[in-house]
């Protein structure tokens, strides 16, 4: 891993801080350009799919941290997403006295981060049972948590209850979603390739030896849950401000499963795998509309096929730039 990371993230000595900032600024400019290009030239239907892919990428990457890296099987990601969506939408939509601020881009951004933080807090609460449970048992608990969240929102009339919450300002767009996707990727990538990240990976590999080597296993499980939930919350906030309307059923069990599929298809523990998994799971059902009523049958069939051909997911535990064909591409001799 030490060698491959130089490909994307500078040489071994690293990028100096000014270059990092310049690189990020360039990325933002590039995104702004792409955003303008897409908004003016691509039809709204395709635009919507592209943005949904971006939201899926954030969800997939964040779940990957818990399921793929820390090895804790969580099935409640839609719950965290719901917390982020509702908290941020509440701030921008219902809490009108502060409306002027929360209508601005900065305000929506703040609301989305607040939604993420609230989700992170709930991640802390769900992370606690994970200290005692593992495998299937943890999956059931997190599943239960997701459902509890949904039912709580179903019964809070301040956010519309079962009728949902309409009139959310349409502030999120291609630019913001993909900016967050890139930030999510960068943060999780850098976390995993650090000392704390190795501690998290060691929990997945072997909890007993991990604690015998001085890793505070409980602490890092909770850390993984909180960070993962934060980004899921952000994804929820972006989603709410893109759709303009949310209702509790948007965040049901199916949504959680969808995110798990993204991670599993891409390869548990692979960041690039989660990205590609998210794009596939979001786009395939749309591409398959051509097959009308057989659409979901073919979609499921394709998922089965992928898992048969690549039981560890498309990239296993590796990244796309570690794949042999990609490495060969890079190694092409200079003339």
């Amino acid at each position: 891993m030490a060698d491959t990371h130089s490909l994307f993230f500078g040489d071994q000595d690293g990028l100096k801080t000014p270059w990092q900032i310049l690189g990020f600024a360039l990325l933002v400019l590039l995104l702004m350009g792409a955003s303008a290009l897409i908004e003016n030239n691509v039809n709204p239907y395709v635009q919507r799919i592209i943005v949904n892919c971006g939201i899926g990428i954030i969800l997939g990457l964040s779940l990957n941290l818990v399921n793929g890296c820390a090895g804790q099987f969580s099935l409640g990601h839609a719950g965290f997403m719901a917390v982020g969506a509702y908290v941020s939408a509440y701030l921008t939509t219902v809490l009108m006295p502060f409306g002027a601020f929360f209508q601005s881009d900065l305000g929506v951004g703040t609301a989305v981060v607040a939604g993420g933080l609230a989700a992170g807090l709930s991640g802390y609460v769900v992370g606690l049972p994970s200290l005692r449970l593992r495998g299937d048992y943890l999956a059931i608990v997190t599943l239960g948590f997701g459902e509890i969240i949904r039912i709580v929102f179903l019964n809070i009339s301040a956010v519309g209850g079962p009728r949902g919450l309409p009139g959310i300002p349409l502030a999120s767009n291609f630019f913001w979603v993909y900016l967050w996707a890139i930030v999510t990727f960068a943060i999780i990538y850098r976390l995993i390739h650090s000392s704390a990240g190795r501690a998290i990976l060691s929990i997945r590999e072997d909890e007993i030896s991990s604690q015998s080597m001085g890793v505070d296993v409980s602490h890092y499980k909770v850390v993984a849950f909180v960070i993962s939930a934060f980004f899921a919350g952000v994804a929820g906030g972006l989603f709410a401000h893109y759709q303009g309307f949310i209702d509790p059923n948007t965040f049901n069990f199916n949504r959680s499963v969808e995110v798990v599929i993204m991670v599993v298809i891409g390869g548990m523990g692979s960041l690039s795998g989660a990205v590609i998994g998210a794009v596939l799971v979001t786009m395939l059902p749309e591409l398959l509309r051509f097959f009308a009523e057989y659409r979901m049958v073919i979609f499921s069939g394709l998922l089965v096929l992928v898992m048969l051909l690549r039981p560890m997911g498309i990239f296993g535990r590796h990244e796309i730039w570690e794949a042999s064909w990609f490495a060969n591409l890079k190694r092409k001799p200079k003339p």
Partner: protein, 261 residues
Amino acid sequence: MSASSAKEVLKLNDVSVSFGGLKAVSQFGISLHESELCGLIGPNGAGKTTVFNLITGVYLPDSGTMDLDGQNLCGLPPHEITKAGIARTFQNIRLYKELTVLENVLVSYHMRKPYGYVDALLRTRQYYAKEHELKEHALRLLSVVGLKNNPDDFAGSLSYGDQRRLEIARALATSPKVLLLDEPGAGLNSGEKVELMKVVSKIRDQFKVTILVIEHDMKFVMGICERILVLDHGELIAEGTPKQIQSNPKVIEAYLGVADA
């Protein structure tokens, strides 16, 4: 080196633990001295690994005291005990199979918090400097145990003998005062065992670490240990130099049984 003159490092007093009705370890007491190489032997089921699990905090003793350099160990969680200075290897190898050899060792440095989250996320100079330093140190440890050639291979792809060595390197990376080796020679052929004996002696000399080793191979134990403890049915039945142990009637009885009268 005379054991009695050296500083006492790890001290166990009257430690007992039982599982249901079974007294796994009863009134066990040892005292290990600085950079001593001590063997722990006994028939199958004597409670040797249980002793390791007690020292490392996996099990909580029902009674007795354990302390390391005057610090009480009873009731501390395993990672705190490792931080205090006790590291171990496992009888059934427990490596992080899908991490590389180097990463397996690097995990052990984490408890000393080489740098914070901010350094990791912003990739500060501190991050690169520390990562570089840790990698250098890990590679040095790997070369001590004879594994310097393939640091980027996955740990799971190593041969059995190399996996055992990696476990030792990984435990050493926590900079322990006391190193507990649980059957490091199990599953190795005689050639590999001779190599391992050299490695274990070298580690003791180079790192001045106290080593307690469980091993069934008598050639191994008698060959490198200065002192041997014999455990049977959870009780310490003998203690002494290899010579004394070899001729101790109680030990012979525990291993071979009593001759019919």
